[in-house]
Amino acid sequence: MTKKDNFLKGFFKENPIFVFLLGMCPALAVTTTFETSLGMGLLVVFVLTSSNIVVSLVKKWIPHDVRTPAYIVIIATFVTVVKMLTEAYAIELYDALGVFLPLIVVNCLILGRAEAFASKNNVVDSAIDGLGMGLGFTLGLITIGILREFLATGGIMFGVYLPIGDHPITLVSLDMIINLFNANFHITDYGIKVFSLPPGAFIALGMILAVFQFKKARKDRKIAIAKMEMIAEKKRLAAEKKKAAAIKAAQEKQAAPKLAKAGE
């Protein structure tokens, strides 16, 4: 596997959320808005990349019997560091993520990558794997976050939780279009509120997984059809070959008495 493939595999082919269904707890709990999803994703990228690097560095010295507790201590250290830094420099994000920030420790994606990849590969590949998988995880969270926030409020805000800029800004809002015709219309009054609640997370995730499964099924069907066509073509070729062989054999059979007569 090339370094590029190693980096890109986490985005779609082996996406932790939509393909492996890993890290479902934050995927359902903190994806209320685009910004909380992005915040959680970035924290996971940091923890996953750092823990992969350290696990890869120390793998030779950690006895096989105690590798899991040792990896958990390493992951927990990075999560604690991230928790303190977030509490100090992004207090709104810290409040919004709540208990799910320390729960990154038990995100099976992080321990899974440490165990399955970092403990068997070199530092550079482990770092690339951590970064790629982390960004793939972030992409998954952001997709759910955007869908949920847009359906619940009719727009996407930025700058509420992350310490970027002085004031929150509206990235997208249906108000921008509708207010051209009706100035008193507020799309937030008509948002589907359930999408900002936990049941909405399940519905949004289900919708996105359905799209992924539909695309996968269509791809599988195309492959199956191509396979069937190839088998049919092979059968046809084999039949033609058999037919040609039979004709040849019959011709040889007919030609054999004539040759014998000519010989006499």
Partner: protein, 175 residues
């Protein structure tokens, strides 16, 4: 035996390094976190008396023995008492709920806020969004509670703290 010692030594080293890293980051961020907590607490004080974020207030906090943790006296710019804030933490089956209750000098509940909790976030949000504001402007000696929501653990904890704050106010500050 040596193998077991080696395993123990590795775990000790991993734990020690982890501790050193966490200690260093804590040293780096402790002051900022403490300042953030103070700023947050002050912003709650302003919210409790419906003051804008840029209003200057001074306050005097004292620890209280008993169910309530703290009484904070809030003064405006001219040094007049705006009211009192009572802080307490109640434990229920789902964890802890810390509530700040603001009581104005005229004996009405100015507002109450849940400053931190380990209860189920969805239930807490429902209480914050729909029910906690109902205590505003009610007299401390005769406020009503929502009997339907009163069945939830979070709401029960909030009510318990508001009742304790009201009792304390009537006993010590009421005229």
């Amino acid at each position: 035996m040596l193998d077991k010692l080696k395993i123990a030594l590795v775990l000790v080293v991993v734990g020690a390094l982890s501790g050193i890293i966490i200690y260093s980051v804590n040293e780096l961020t402790a002051d900022t976190i403490a300042q953030n907590k103070i700023d947050k607490e002050v912003s709650y004080y302003k919210d409790l008396f419906n003051l804008s974020a840029d209003t200057n207030i001074t306050y005097d906090a004292i620890e209280i023995d008993g169910y309530l943790d703290q009484e904070v006296t809030i003064y405006d710019n001219s040094g007049d008492v705006l009211g009192y804030i009572y802080k307490a933490t109640d434990k229920n089956n789902y964890g802890e709920v810390t509530v700040l209750v603001g009581i104005a000098v005229d004996g009405t509940i100015s507002n109450a806020v849940i400053s931190s909790t380990t209860n189920t976030p969805t239930f807490v949000q429902t209480i914050k969004d729909k029910y906690i504001d109902n205590f505003s402007n009610q007299a401390v000696d005769s406020f009503t509670i929502d009997s339907k929501t009163g069945a939830t653990y979070t709401y029960t904890s909030v009510v318990t703290i508001i009742e304790a704050a009201s009792d304390y106010y009537l006993e010590n500050r009421g005229e």
